[in-house]
């Protein structure tokens, strides 16, 4: 039987209790914190009257498409940079430079180049994750012990095979890093949607703010948290299936 995370359960019950108590005693104004009932009503209304599901789908699609493009470019490019010193010397400074740029600072430029459509948002998220992910993958490749290279050398593998073996060696770390970067992607999608969007969770929060609809704002924030938590949960859940060889106990 699966073990229940009791400390989490107790703390969440405590939070709800404090929330109800503070509202009943009138400690916090409704403008800052809605009652549980108001929040529940907001959720019902968002899903039944305001197509909130479409907003969720829009945000999720943005995050996953941007992450998909980041990963399929970052992984082979990191392997190439790791294997080619000159390429690494050329690209590494640019990657480091762009990596330090705050993503919101790039919003005006992405709008200028790509308008306010989906492309601009995906490009923005791509910039936010690609440069982080590639650096993390190169770090993982740098950590491969030299014995691995001695082994692949002695097998006389060709360049492509050698890269494939490096990829396989670092795949569990790449998987973990993907979990982290997808979290950053969620931060950036909300920023992008808050500034220029007509759909998405961020857009809904911005609209709620315009009309001082605090319950809807909270509903949007909680939804984001749940999706992030769920993504993380799924990543962790599938780790043992993808990396069975890591889970086996030593004799």
């Amino acid at each position: 039987m699966k073990r229940v995370n009791s400390p989490f359960l107790v703390s969440s019950i405590l939070i709800v209790f404090l929330w109800v108590l503070s509202k009943n005693l009138g400690w916090i104004n409704d403008l800052f914190l809605p009652t549980p009932k108001q929040l529940l009503t907001a959720f019902v209304s968002l899903f039944s009257e305001h197509d909130f599901l479409d907003d969720i789908i829009a945000s999720v699609l943005r995050v996953f498409s941007a992450f998909f493009f980041s990963a399929i470019i970052a992984i082979p490019l990191a392997l190439l940079m790791f294997n080619n010193k000159t390429l690494r010397q050329i690209l590494a400074p640019y990657i480091d430079f762009i990596r330090y740029l705050p993503v919101p600072a790039l919003i005006p430029l992405t709008i200028l180049f790509f308008g306010i459509g989906e492309t601009a948002k995906i490009v923005l998220l791509f910039i936010g994750t690609f440069f982080q992910l590639i650096l993390l993958i190169i770090d993982d490749l740098d950590e491969i012990p030299k014995e691995h290279f001695y082994l692949t050398y002695s097998l006389k593998l060709n360049g492509f095979q050698e890269m494939w073996y490096m990829f396989r060696k670092t795949l569990p770390q790449i998987y973990d890093n993907s979990r982290i970067t997808i979290g950053w992607c969620w931060t950036y999608v909300i920023i992008a949607e808050l500034v220029a969007s007509s759909s998405g969770i961020g857009h809904m929060i911005k609209e709620a703010q315009r009309f001082s609809n605090t319950p809807n704002m909270y509903a949007g924030i909680i939804t984001m948290g749940i999706i992030g938590f769920g993504t993380d949960f799924l990543f962790k859940k599938f780790y043992p299936s993808f990396f069975r060889y890591k889970m086996k106990a030593k004799m």
Partner: protein
């Protein structure tokens, strides 16, 4: 000669590891390298196997310059810190020896099964590396090196971390395969008994700049308790102390 090291000079900055170092190894012969820690045994192995190409002097392998030889062929390497492909099963790890080689799947299967049996890994064919003990993991590395069928093997304290039983069985397997396939090997070890058991000749190296101070013929002694074995052991120990 299968391997001829002629006038090898190797420096790490100001540190001179080898200066005009010479050593010859005949075809089908195993030479054990013994010497104090830091005398350059592993560096020598790296130069021969092509892992380190930055040296002066010449290394000839089968009459060819080592760089030329290594463009076509490889030397099987087994290190003390074993390295296997953790995402592959034992069977797949040994099979990786046949990558880019024209060997029929029947032949591959036969070699793998034989080596699995000989290395005591029977029943673990489909286990992953992480499921095995350190000794068993090292046996996989040895099995793969032997499956490669390269004409030269380079072993750098391969059995150093194993218990006596594992060590002994792998020493026997190593000797058997080397003799059967007429392979040439360089075997680095700190264990004098092991050096006698696995090699035809023992090259004793002194501290850097390293030189071969003495080469001792082992005459293929296998009986650890014989008088001849003990005298040989004493001779190696005495030379090492000089």
């Amino acid at each position: 000669m299968m391997i001829e090291i002629q006038g090898l000079t190797k420096r790490f900055g100001q540190l001179v590891v080898f200066e005009n170092f010479n050593l010859s190894i005949r075809k089908g012969e195993t030479v054990a390298l013994v010497g104090p820690s830091g005398c350059g045994k592993t560096t020598l192995l790296n130069c021969v196997t092509g892992l380190d190409k930055n040296y002066d002097g010449q290394i000839l392998i089968n009459g060819l310059n080592s760089k030329e030889y290594l463009q076509e062929k490889r030397i099987s390497i087994v290190l003390q810190r074993y390295s296997n492909f953790e995402w592959q099963t034992i069977n797949e790890n040994i099979r990786s020896a046949f990558v880019n080689r024209n060997i029929t799947s029947e032949e591959q299967e036969k070699t793998i099964n034989n080596l699995i049996e000989r290395t005591g890994l029977l029943g673990f064919e489909n286990s992953y590396i992480n499921e095995l003990s350190g000794g068993m993991q090292q046996r996989v590395a040895v099995a793969r090196a032997l499956a490669q069928s390269n004409e030269i093997l380079a072993f750098d304290e391969p059995f150093g971390s194993l218990d006596i039983e594992n060590r002994s069985s792998l020493q026997i397997l190593f000797r058997e395969q080397i003799t059967k396939k007429n392979l040439t090997a360089i075997f680095i070890t700190h264990d004098i008994e092991e050096a006698i058991l696995v090699s035809e000749r023992i090259a004793i190296l002194k501290k850097i700049p390293s030189l071969v101070t003495k080469i001792i013929e082992t005459n293929n002694i296998t009986d650890k308790y014989s008088q001849e074995f003990n005298s040989l052991k004493e001779e190696v120990e005495k030379t090492l102390k000089l």
